[in-house]
Point group: C2
Chain length 237, copies 2
DNA sequence: ACCTGAACACCGTTCAAGT
DNA sequence: ACCTGAACACCGTTCAAGT
């Protein structure tokens, strides 16, 4: 694709950004040692100077994404509002690179930049009254969920808006044709289900549910032992 | 691996189950047309009689998983308790096949069994007071989150418990060696962060956060417009 | 209807060699 | 230090053919 022949052009960061560009345009599966090398006008084997193997290249992408997160500075807003802001910052970066968003969950604890986010979230949960162990669990889950919910909607990640719109129409037709006796709620919600709007509403809604859930957990932890709060059990697996 | 030479042994379901077994033992990347064919003692091309391409094989796995979900029968428990039960049933199936859990998010609306779960969740959210559009969004998010949070923890999905335990120790050592001035919360939470316990607590906690969040949203929707409830905003992306 | 066989265009990676 | 080149063991998939 885009090439160039100057020497000394290559570096870890250049390769990571090239790989990210490929992923953004054509999906994660298109990120290939040979493809990235070709885009850089270089032999596949050249990449092995900078990365031990392909997994290290992917780890490089994940780390790069964490570095792009612009965390808001600490203020004296309530802990849940601050948590919302931090998760929003993460979400903002991942939305722009949704095909690789799923990668970062595995590198939260192994990259410097990922640890910065973790440190911040842990601190906010502690402010909310979470005991350390519970905070760790919840923090892991929050970051993973943000990462994954932003990720690829499925195997039909066609990037052309044209094809996307016709896929929506096809799916809408499929849902509308269902048996109304068996799937009344699905049919009633067919339009918003099929559309999968990538808009503000979708993301605002996840964040509210997550932070709302964390808030509810904090309240429950505060009055621990009191039997007035209904306990929701999960059956043994 | 295991082979057998009888005729007529092959079918969509047999192949799907063979593929799932491979995924469970060696991860999703090991699921390969050639590998599944080999396990069935058959030529790779034989699979193309039952599946148009590899994606259809994966879709078959996803559908099979939805069929395994044993949804609790409707009773007159509160909507959020019932929602917890449905999500638990989904979680129970996916926990046993964590390497493929990430697949199902893309097939919720395209498989009969997936639609059954969707129908149920939509109905419960409506009982909780969600308007149709919001219910659709939240339903999609809930199922996707359950699927993805159960999924592969990252690239280090070593399945041998021996290697897993030593990986935990290594990560623990790494976290403990961090600068205490910069990462005090991470260091304090090092043990639960590194361990990544797959136990009851982890999953109970996600479900509580999610259902607690849905509950909070429902309450907010009920008193819509009233300014007493603090509104958490998400910045523009 | 159900499966085989050869072939094609791809992968990641090793090993040895060039500059 | 940084990159090339040939080779190996894998992929998914097409096309034609067998029974």
């Amino acid at each position: 694709m885009t090439s160039g022949k100057q020497r000394g052009r290559l570096s870890r960061e250049v390769l990571v950004r090239r790989a990210l560009a490929v992923a953004d345009r054509e999906g994660l599966d298109a990120v290939t040692i040979r493809r990235v090398a070709g885009d850089c006008g270089v032999t596949p084997m050249a990449l092995y100077w900078y990365f031990r193997d392909k997994e290290q290249l992917l780890a490089g992408i994940a780390e790069y994404l964490f570095e792009q997160v612009q965390m808001p500075s600490t203020d004296n807003a309530p802990w849940d509002a601050q948590l919302m802001a931090v998760l929003s910052a993460l979400l903002t970066v991942l939305r722009q690179h949704s095909s690789v968003a799923g990668l970062i969950a595995g590198y939260v604890l192994s990259s410097e930049a990922g640890l910065r986010v973790t440190e911040r979230v842990l601190g906010l949960l502690r402010d909310g009254g979470f005991p350390p162990g519970q905070a760790a669990v919840t923090c892991t889950q929050l970051v993973a969920i943000i990462a994954l919910i932003t990720g690829p909607p499925g195997p039909d990640r066609t990037l052309e808006p044209q094809a996307c719109e016709s896929a929506v129409r096809a799916r809408l037709a499929g849902l509308s044709a269902l048996d109304p006796a068996r799937f009344p709620s699905v049919i009633a919600a067919a339009a918003p289900l099929a559309r999968r709007d990538d808009d503000q509403r979708y993301y605002r809604s996840v964040l509210q549910m997550l932070v709302g859930g964390a808030h509810a957990m904090a309240a429950q932890l505060a009055e621990r032992g009191c039997g007035t709060q209904r306990q929701l059990g999960v059956p043994e697996g």
